[in-house]
């Protein structure tokens, strides 16, 4: 708290919003006093720390009446003074209380009573982390509510704040890739690292700061007040640098880093819970920005989180509200020039958001797990639609790696085949290579089951990402889809060589090849000459509504009769 200037404030200025401390929680006792020692408000902890007499009599000078109390003169000085002052009071043998007096508006004084032994007394075994000796999660709420109370008290005092300076702040500090360290080097090494990190953090913290371990690899540093603008950020940067220095554990060098989220008590965070939430949002930002850095909370992060939350809720409702639909992009067989089938593509039409591109909602649906429900519906709906087409046409459905997690995919597929009545070989499940990294064993088992059902399996987007040849040979693919980046635009000799290579690779592994993104007759021609089996792209058609597919099928069969599939 900076120096107060009570003289500048009119006598009655504060009366309209007199500070009421009765709801203040935490380990400290609070009271608002008049200059004569009268109690205007106090919290329950005050009676706990000073005894009932003070509260019952409604006067602080009742303290002077027992033998241990301060002298009346000493008390009067603290009550009538305009500055901060502190009295240490022995209320019983060996039991002391610290009384801090500070100025409030309108000749009121704020009293904060604390037990100087509080921390050591209160940090019981339950509240202390045995590994690091730090306070743990059990103390978090208490520490946050103490900050909150102190902030409320500070706000009532007539002090000018300069930006964030003077506001309490917290740093949420997360060790980068700690799980990986634990997994690869063992828990003993992980524990040593936690102890060493704690040691380094202690080096940069002041006595008034509170350092605690709030999660496996997460620390929280509570800073009662930030004296100078930028001080907290500087501290965070220092911590990042300090932890990024090598550790030496059991004769081995270990490098790690921390990501830090910073949040202040300010107009946007007036309670501990919000403060913690803000720090967490800032921490997430620090992590997604590449880790090993500190990030301060900014209001847009809360906005983003809210929007994201709203989007999550909307996605959850979309299926029930029938906002999803499938559109279909035709695929043409290059050997016959005939329509071979369609790829089903998911679209989300939201009444307010409009058409939301899959790239915006699929990742969120994957994170929330909603993708499983959506994915099951897509398979069912695509098969139902295919049952309306001639029996030789196929339907390709994209499946997310996450849909393999609960091992229900083969069941969903079987159900969709049964309900639609289409032959299994008309359904093609498209997966991306990401699946094979995500959970290779589960993927292999379920893809094999799908193959046994008679369903085809295509590897999507081949040529981008890892394009691992061992994946191609290990997993039961029946088709390779060549990514459109190899097809679109002017294709140079090297790209063409790659395409030719993928086609012959597919052929020698007994897999069909389909090229995506075909836009011009030249591209069509080139792929046909190269021996590619099928194509899709704007040259043939953009994705179309389900209702238009039957017409398109009819049109195609007429064109075949006319001998031109690509016109």
């Amino acid at each position: 708290m900076s120096q107060p200037q009570p003289a500048c404030l009119p006598e009655t200025a504060g009366q309209a919003h007199e500070l009421d401390v009765s709801s203040f929680s935490g380990p400290a006792g609070y009271a608002v006093l008049g200059h004569e020692g009268r109690l205007y408000s106090s919290n329950p902890q005050l009676a706990v720390l000073l005894g009932d007499a003070v509260v019952v009599s409604g006067r602080l000078d009742s303290l002077c009446q027992n033998g241990h109390g301060p002298s009346a003169a000493e008390l009067m000085q603290s009550l009538t003074g305009t500055d901060d002052s502190t009295i240490t009071l022995e209320i019983a043998d060996g039991v002391t209380r610290q009384l801090q007096f500070g100025p409030l508006r309108a000749h009121r004084r704020l009293l904060i009573v604390s037990d100087p032994h509080h921390i050591s007394v209160q940090t019981s075994a339950l509240e202390q982390d045995t590994l690091t000796g730090l306070a743990n999660r059990h103390q978090l709420n208490e520490i946050l509510s103490r900050l909150e109370s102190e902030r409320a008290a500070a706000q009532s005092a007539p002090t000018a704040t300069n930006g964030n300076a003077g506001n309490a702040a917290i740093l949420l500090i997360d060790i980068d890739r700690f799980k990986q360290i634990n997994d690869t080097l063992g828990h003993a090494t992980g524990d040593s690292l936690l102890r060493l990190v704690t040691g380094r953090l202690r080096r940069v913290t002041r006595e008034t700061d509170q350092l605690m371990r709030v999660g496996g690899d997460e620390f929280l540093l509570a800073l009662p007040c930030d004296e100078e603008p930028g001080g907290v950020e500087q501290l965070a940067i220092r911590i990042v640098e300090l932890i990024s220095r090598p550790f030496l554990i059991n004769g081995q060098q270990l490098n790690t880093g921390v990501s830090i989220g910073i949040a202040w008590f300010d107009d946007e965070a007036e309670d501990g819970a919000t403060l913690l939430q803000h720090a967490d949002l800032a921490l997430q930002k620090a992590k997604v920005s590449g880790r090993n850095q500190a990030c301060a909370f900014q209001s847009y992060m809360a906005q983003e989180a809210l929007q994201r939350r709203a989007l999550e809720i909307d996605i959850r409702r979309a299926l029930t509200l029938q906002q999803f639909r499938l559109v279909y992009q035709p695929q043409v067989d290059l050997h016959t020039g005939k329509l071979a089938g369609f790829e089903a593509l998911l679209r989300w039409e939201h009444p307010v958001r409009g058409t939301v591109p899959p790239i915006e909602f699929i990742p969120i649906a994957e994170e929330t797990g909603e993708i499983r429900r959506i994915g099951a519906w897509v398979i069912l709906e695509a098969c139902r639609q295919a049952s309306l087409w001639p029996a030789e046409l196929t339907v390709a459905v994209n499946v997310s790696p996450l849909q393999f997690d609960d091992e229900k995919l083969p069941g969903h597929v079987k159900d969709a085949l049964n309900r639609s009545g289409i032959a299994p070989e008309r359904l093609e499940i498209e997966v991306t290579e990401g699946l094979l990294f995500h959970n290779p064993d589960a993927a292999l088992a379920q893809l094999t089951q799908l193959r046994q059902l008679g369903v085809d399996i295509a590897m999507d987007d081949f040529g981008t990402g890892y394009s691992s040849l061992s994946h191609l040979s290990r997993f039961p693919f029946t088709k390779v889809k060549i990514d459109q980046s190899f097809v679109r635009g002017g294709v140079d000799d090297r790209t063409q060589a790659l395409v030719t290579c993928i086609i012959s690779l597919g052929a020698s592994l007994g897999m069909k090849t389909l090229a995506e993104g075909v836009e011009t007759p030249e591209q069509y021609q080139r792929l046909q000459t190269s021996g590619c089996d099928a194509v899709q792209g704007y040259l043939i058609s953009r994705p179309m509504e389900a209702g238009s597919t039957t017409n398109f099928v009819d049109q195609c069969s007429r064109q075949i009769h006319d001998g031109d599939a690509t016109a």
Binding site: G199, R200, R203, L242, P246, L248, N250, G251, Q252, Q253
Partner: protein, 149 residues
């Protein structure tokens, strides 16, 4: 010698700001502390310093080396610490020095000069053994070094 020995070599960037006098004073302080604590912990080693960089060798029982290294790590007078060697060893290179010192004026071999010149400092390329050997040669062959008390 029963306890297994370990040697750590690291280089780091100097963060001490100030004129030569101040620098010398700080280095003096670093060496004083190091020599005192190292002797108690059974650590020997060498420190090389120029305006831009520190290079240090620490050797001794593994636990003591780890503790000493961690203490040095927390020192705000350097940053961007890069460990270039960290190995078990059978013998000490600097058994006579609790912390030998090679300063800016010393007649340092080409390798150390290269390390010490901030431009062209390619940390990934630095060989810990080479630093250790160069410092050792320098300290044992010349009288340019100041042996620890």
């Amino acid at each position: 010698m029963s306890e297994p020995l370990m040697r750590v070599v690291y280089v780091s960037h100097n963060t001490i700001q100030g004129d030569d006098d101040y620098l010398s004073q700080q280095i003096e302080q670093i060496l004083d502390t190091a020599r005192q604590l190292n002797e108690q912990a059974g650590i020997t080693g060498a420190l090389m310093f120029n305006r831009g960089l520190f290079a240090q060798v620490l050797e001794g029982p593994a636990a003591a080396v780890e503790e000493t290294f961690e203490r040095i790590q927390c020192d705000p007078r350097h940053a961007e610490v890069l460990m270039v060697a960290c190995d078990p060893v059978t013998a000490r290179s600097f058994d006579q020095w609790s912390m030998a010192y090679v300063g800016m004026q010393a007649d340092v071999p080409a390798l150390l000069l290269e390390i010490a010149s901030e431009t062209g400092f390619d940390a990934e390329r630095i060989d810990g053994d080479a630093i250790n050997n160069a410092l050792r040669t320098l300290l044992t062959d010349s009288d340019g070094a100041q042996a620890a008390a």
